[in-house]
């Protein structure tokens, strides 16, 4: 197992109070696997993702749990060891907004070269540039030899994301955390990015934790899917299991919210109510106030993630 997160809880401390953004989350990612992490805004999916490299905002505290990467516990590491051996070595990140992730006053070449000069120390300057150009070409940037000397503002959103991907893969990481990498991009650009992402993964043998709110994207890229709601993992399953037979009422509702056909007669399904504030979470199952099937027990006790149907399909619901 490449990564194993056990009973992770992350608390935010703010003026409004304290609240758990991630509660008792456990998950596993195997080598070369793509794991999709889905949930609505405020579900804690990004907090969970970013706690894996311990890049959380200053008011976040990891309260309990272990994060084992190849057996070593990331939570127990010092900042120094983290920087030396984990961040940008074992684990790379690509973010939603490549606009802000690239420095506007340096050329694309300078920024890629910054990384190459750290990881390919023995190579000469021209050799490094050749590598940068070939990497950019590989992710579909036309005329890369000329464009590499341009500044980020000359690149479109999709092209910037490709530059980010190249930079993330240069270090040959064993895990890539992709936080909404295609949100806000057009579908054709999204398709390009996903294609290149899959190519690079195959080539480098990298595992990916793909964080998104878009179930449809997940259904196309992921091997395994994790659904989060209000800080809790409510369902984990292989892709086909999850989409063919979703078990948690929340997962089912999410899938049904998507407009599917051109039949216009029926109403789209919605989920009544809204995602609860983490400073004021309901008792029992976090989803019960919005769940049509909720029973008395759902209000009193919190369901744990349990195996059902098959060993790979886990769900946290009393009614399954």
């Amino acid at each position: 197992m490449l990564l194993e997160v056990k009973n992770l809880s992350v608390e935010y401390i703010t003026r409004e109070g304290r609240g758990y953004a991630v509660e008792n989350a456990s998950l596993k990612i195997g080598e070369g696997q793509i794991v999709g992490l889905v949930g609505e805004s405020g579900s804690g999916k990004s907090t969970l993702g970013w706690s894996i490299i311990r890049l959380l905002p200053g008011n976040a505290r990891i309260r309990s749990g272990n994060i084992l990467l190849k057996g070593r516990d990331i939570i127990k590491m010092s900042e120094r060891t983290l920087n030396k051996t984990i961040r940008g070595k074992e684990i790379s990140v690509i973010v939603q907004d490549p606009q802000n992730a690239l420095n506007p006053v340096f050329t694309i070449h300078t920024q890629i070269n910054d990384i190459l000069s750290l990881y390919r120390k023995r190579r000469g300057k021209t050799e490094r540039k050749e590598e940068a150009v070939s990497l950019l070409t590989k992710v579909g940037i036309a005329d890369a030899r000329r464009r590499i000397d341009e500044y980020p503002y000359c690149f479109s959103g999709g092209m910037k994301q490709r530059v980010m991907m190249v930079m993330a893969f240069i270090v040959n990481p064993s895990l890539l955390i992709a936080d909404e990498p295609t949100t806000g991009l057009d579908v054709t650009v999204e398709a390009q990015i996903l294609e290149h992402l899959k190519d690079l993964m195959r080539q480098y043998g990298t595992a990916v934790l793909y964080i998104t709110h878009d179930l449809a994207v997940i259904s196309e890229v992921a091997d395994k899917v994790i659904v989060m709601y209000a800080g809790n993992i409510v369902e984990i399953a292989n892709k086909s299991e999850l989409f063919d037979s979703p078990l948690h009422p929340y997962t089912r509702a999410l899938i049904n919210c998507l407009p599917r056909s051109t039949t216009q007669e029926d109403q789209l399904e919605t989920i009544p109510g809204s995602v609860p504030n983490i400073f004021n979470l309901p008792h029992g199952c976090k989803f019960h106030p919005r769940c049509e099937l909720a029973k008395q027990i759902c209000k009193e006790k919190q369901p744990l993630l349990k195996r059902s149907r098959s060993s790979s399909h886990k769900v946290a619901c009393f009614l399954v």
Binding site: G140, V187, T188, A191, S219, D244, C257, L258, T262
Partner: protein
Amino acid sequence: MPLIDVTTLQAHFEKSKGLFSKLSGKSMAVVHAVDCISFSIQKGETFGLVGESGCGKTTAGRALLRLLPRNVIRGKINFEDRDVYKLSTSELREFRRHAQIIFQNLIGSLNPRMKIGEIIAEPFRIHESTKSSREIQAEVENLLELVSLSKSDKDKYPTELSGGQGRRVGIARALALHPKFIVCDEPTSGLDVSISAEIINLMKNLQRELNLTYLWISHNLRVVSYVSNRIAIMYLGRIVEMGETSEVFKNPIHRYTKALFSAVPTIGGNKGAKKIVLKGEVPSPINIPPGCRFRTRCWDSEPECRRKEPLLLPVGREHLVACHKAL
């Protein structure tokens, strides 16, 4: 008679260049945002305008409401048989009541210093100034109810609202003066799926109750296919395909439409079909390639495509395509 009739609409913007090129007298760069598009919208229907960022769909929507200066516009836009760019001041005032917009950046379109109640009351203060405050208050409360917001929300400020509530305020404001036509510019973008579904249901119900006509602008094909009766697909300022939604989705003909549809991620669907992944980038609207605009990314182009720009021609009942290889 269609409610809206657009004939050869063009919107070109001059892009100011740097000082040096101005001094040396070089010609201005012209952004061809919308290039010669024609379509009409029937009363009570939802017309979907889709395309990727930069294709000109928002510009087209704004032109329809006369929200762009006259000097960038060529062509004709008729609203109930009258050219919107030729209306007199009083006619324009009347037109503004009937044609409304729900802005793409909704929170940005709400004044942060005004309470929700004031924002929704503003159309009345401008257009129905004879109304007393009490009458206006009653109208505001009705509107809040219509979009399923609570009466207490009128004392809130825009920053206190969630994304979905913000959209509802925008919808309430657009509906205030009983318009006939609403341009909905990406009304669900950036919302979670469950919230987006609520907004779509609300807008469809309102359309039925109030007999509204929508121009629905979106890059989200799933949403557009669900809400609209007819759609037009735009690429680089041109309409490349147009027709009844079900027909276009069942039988897309333009290569761009095919690529666009196949790129939409779907749950469980598209299993057999291979995804068409387009190569390269959309060309700049300043230097539009001659001939067919999509030719630079088309996998099926022929010498003819370089020579001649294809016209939007019918291929079936109410199904038009601008491609040399359509037939």
